[in-house]
């Protein structure tokens, strides 16, 4: 090939061009891949909104404390009422 190309470089170019033309063919991507990727691109991602559990926890703690204070206060109130003066 070296000898041939040194004698006639344009022929060597034509050979390479022919090789490129015959071997560089378009490759079709998989149809399934194309469709899935399109869906992923144009469909907005589903966002799941979760209620903040931390807030509920605080509410439970607050209600618990409030109930405790209320019960204690009621018991003290009743105990004082029953005690003979």
């Amino acid at each position: 090939m070296s000898l041939a190309t040194s004698i006639n470089p344009s022929k060597a170019f034509m050979d390479i061009e022919q090789q490129l033309e015959s071997k560089m063919q378009p490759i079709s991507p998989r149809e399934e891949y194309i469709n899935k990727l399109r869906d992923r691109l144009i469909t907005p991602p589903t966002i799941l909104y979760e209620n903040p559990e931390k807030g509920w926890g605080l509410v439970v703690i607050f209600v618990g404390l409030f109930s405790g204070v209320l019960i204690t206060w009621l018991l003290l109130f009743l105990f004082r009422k029953k005690r003979p003066s």
């Binding site: 063919q25 490759i27 691109l41």
Partner: protein, 203 residues
């Protein structure tokens, strides 16, 4: 490509600016139209740059996700929209080569798609070796030379179209093409000489 647009929205294929403008404004169907138009071309570009089907699919997806994220900042300047996509693809492929720094060659299973199934298996092996030699040689070229060959031989673009995409003059493309063929010829001659040396040593 047989990728028919699934959306009802249609644009003039000869004037994609309307689709680009709508896509910039956030219209997903316009982006889908552009996707249908260019996904095959970008896939082919990446496939011939990487030689791997899996990586071509992964990088093609990355190109379009990046384009979708950044399209709001895209400005219509008269340069084809595909030039922007090719630039994103070029950058991602460059990163891929840097990150992998693997030997750039096509494995036998990857080249399976590139050979003719209608001919005898033994002939296919010969074809496969020829293909491997050619694609190895192509991958040793600079990225712009590889891009030129892909646009010319895979996409069958004219020098003017390639010039618009690569943002060079038509004359510069002709010159680059000539230098690319010269380089490719030299690389292939060297490879053939090396291969024949190995064969002689084996004997």
């Amino acid at each position: 490509m047989k990728n028919e647009p699934v959306e009802s929205m249609e644009y003039d294929p000869n004037d994609e600016n309307a689709a680009v403008q709508d896509a910039i404004a956030g219209n997903s169907q316009a982006f889908s139209w552009l996707y249908n138009r260019y996904v095959g071309k970008i896939y082919n570009y990446i496939y011939y740059r990487t030689g791997k089907q899996y990586d071509a699919e992964d990088l093609t997806a990355k190109v379009f996700f990046r384009a979708l994220r950044r399209i709001h900042a895209y400005r219509i300047t008269g340069v084809p929209f595909s030039a922007w996509l090719y630039r994103i693809a070029h950058n991602l492929v460059a990163n891929w080569h840097r990150d992998n720094s693997r030997k750039k060659e096509i494995s036998l299973e990857d080249t399976a798609e590139l050979y003719d199934r209608s001919i005898h298996p033994e002939m296919n092996v010969v074809h496969l070796q020829e293909n491997e030699r050619l694609f190895e040689a192509i991958r040793t070229l600079t990225p712009d030379r590889q891009q030129l060959l892909i646009l010319k031989f895979v996409e069958h673009m004219s020098n003017a179209e390639i010039a618009a995409i690569m943002q060079r003059s038509e004359g510069a493309i002709k010159s680059l093409y000539h230098r690319t063929l010269l380089a490719l010829r030299t690389i292939m001659e060297d490879k053939i000489e090396k291969d024949s040396l190995f064969t002689d040593e084996d004997l």
